[in-house]
């Protein structure tokens, strides 16, 4: 593995960690000292150099190890990647979007050469070289969505649009916050969000759906979501809940700083040009509490967010039982000082 990428694990001995550089660019998701649902969508335009927003698809130090973890999840359970038959074209749209973005944004790692529909893709970090015919699935070792998302960090779902609704009909889901693609595939927008508490009554999904139905090609948007994860597990799937659930019960005041992670999803939404489907990458970033508290503003603010969150939300996000332990750990970092608005460290 090259110097650009960590050699680390998200299971077993859990050697995942963030470098000082990765902590500094971590996408802290709270712009203020409290949290409630909101649609909070903004244009996905290039952000500051070095930030996770700099490029369309952020490739960071965890890339190679995350892709190794994904391959293992898929070997254990191939149902984590599914595409209903009519979604193949959307898969090609996604492949094109990712290949063009990565070749443009990271030319030292990726290259894409086209001669009509004869494409030549090179992925140097994963040591992949592939010549194939665009729109001919028989020329790739997997379907187009699976092929490219085995090489791209984050989960992906593809939504077909019809009858004034969005239908989740394809996906690669191995780094999820406890939801099952196998169960949800084929559902409408409100159906797959059905288990989320409070937000339906608040009109969140009505507004979000209305907004997304009008999403334009070339004008992607983004938002954050977040939850908590004990140990740096990418695969917190309901399928494997009996395997990772017990870990939530064995944290102590001595181990929480090392084992408790804030899990942030950078969600982006892209209208696809041929299929008119919407691609929904859900990129997961993990940071352990002891890494996060090295930034004083984030430590203060996270303490206030966890302290004031309604129990119903803490239950849904799966951390109610460890909330007292988290507050005990975070409280000493909260000196009561005001925090500046926005995500930035200070």
């Amino acid at each position: 593995m090259s110097l650009d990428f960590n050699d680390e694990t998200f299971r077993g001995d859990f050697t995942f960690k963030n470098s000082a550089k990765a902590i500094k660019r971590f996408p802290f998701p709270f712009p203020e000292d409290s949290y409630m649902y909101s649609v909070n969508m903004e244009p996905h335009v290039p952000g500051p150099v070095g930030s996770v927003f700099e490029h369309m698809f952020d490739v960071d130090e965890h890339y190679v190890s995350e892709m190794r973890d994904r391959a293992q999840v898929l070997a254990d359970d191939p149902l984590r990647c599914q595409s209903l038959p009519h979604m193949e074209l959307a898969g090609w749209d996604l492949l094109e979007l990712i290949m063009e973005s990565k070749a443009r944004d990271y030319p030292h790692w990726f290259s894409l050469t086209k001669d009509g529909n004869q494409w030549h893709w090179v992925n140097r970090p994963l040591q992949i070289e592939q010549k194939f015919t665009f729109l001919d699935a028989s020329t790739l070792p997997y379907g187009p969505m699976e092929y490219i998302t085995r090489q791209t960090q984050g989960d992906f779902t593809l939504q077909d649009q019809r009858d004034d609704d969005l239908w989740i009909e394809a996906g690669m889901v191995t780094t999820q916050a406890d939801w099952s693609l196998d169960f949800d595939i084929g559902m409408s927008f409100k159906q797959w969000h059905a288990p989320v508490p409070l937000a339906h009554q608040m009109g969140i999904f009505d507004r979000a759906l209305k907004f997304l139905l009008k999403l334009q090609h070339g004008a992607p948007v983004r938002r954050f979501n977040w939850t908590m994860t004990v140990d740096p597990l990418l695969d917190t799937s309901p399928e494997n809940y009996p395997k990772w659930g017990p870990g939530k019960t064995t944290m102590t005041p001595q181990t929480i700083g090392h084992r408790q992670h804030l899990r942030v999803e950078l969600q982006t939404l892209h209208r696809l040009p041929r299929s008119n489907a919407i691609a929904f990458p859900i990129r997961c970033y993990l940071i352990r509490f002891e890494e996060l508290v090295t930034v004083p503003k984030w430590a203060r603010r996270l303490h206030r967010v966890v302290r004031d969150i309604p129990d119903e939300l803490a239950t849904y996000k799966g951390f109610l039982r460890n909330k007292p332990l988290m507050l005990e750990y975070l409280a000493p970092f909260d000196d009561g000082q005001p925090t500046s608005p926005g995500f930035a460290p200070e």
Partner: protein, 202 residues
């Protein structure tokens, strides 16, 4: 028995109406248990459909068997099947052979209706094309999210997965594609701490 009144539920769970005579060239009814009563009520509204109706009936898991009442309707095709699984190939054939204008009706338990709708969708009909009326048992068809096995006629919550043996709690989250509710291991975080089962779905 009158139409079931459901508590408000999360948006993935289907809602059901009352069967009304459709306008079409042929009429296919699939019912289980007390669902037979919804079919009989519809026929009581008039004789119009009788000459072009096909009824597939599965006695309920609760022992309810209204075969005689359905047979007495005198439709050209009546089939009594011991289970939905046993009726599936017949249903698929009827749907595949259907002409424009076929009306599809499902009545009885949620699991039965969802499986009929899934079969109809598989044959190219839209989900909305199947009329549904709930009658009788609230027993649920539940997919274990862990082993993917489906357990039929679940009345207890939590219950033991009939495939992998894990204790599962039953969510209201419902997949129309799988025609099933979702079951999730209840003691994943505290193995062995399983609360007593209650009969939630009679």
């Amino acid at each position: 028995m009158i139409k079931t009144v459901f508590e408000p539920a999360i948006p993935s769970r289907p809602t059901y109406g009352v069967l009304t005579p459709g306008v079409g060239s042929a009429h296919l009814f699939v019912a289980d248990g007390e669902g037979a009563d919804a079919v009989c009520d519809l026929f009581a509204q008039g004789e119009g459909l009788k000459a072009s109706s096909h009824i597939i009936y599965i006695p309920g898991a609760n022992g309810c068997d209204r075969s005689a009442a359905l047979q007495a309707l005198g439709v050209p095709q009546f089939h009594r099947s011991p289970s939905f699984a046993a009726a599936q190939s017949r249903l698929a054939k009827v749907l595949a052979d259907a002409h424009m204008g076929l009306q599809v009706y499902a009545a009885g338990t949620e699991g039965l209706m969802a499986q009929v709708a899934a079969a109809a969708q598989h044959a190219g009909l839209p989900y909305e094309a199947v009329q549904m009326e709930h009658r009788g048992s609230l027993a649920r068809r539940v997919q274990c999210v862990h082993c993917k096995g489906v357990t039929e006629n679940v009345t207890l919550d939590p219950f033991v997965c009939s495939h992998c043996g894990l204790s599962l709690f039953v969510r209201d989250h419902f997949s129309r594609r799988l025609a099933a509710f979702q079951g999730v291991n209840i003691d994943a975080e505290d193995p062995g701490l399983v609360p007593a089962s209650v009969e939630r779905f009679k």
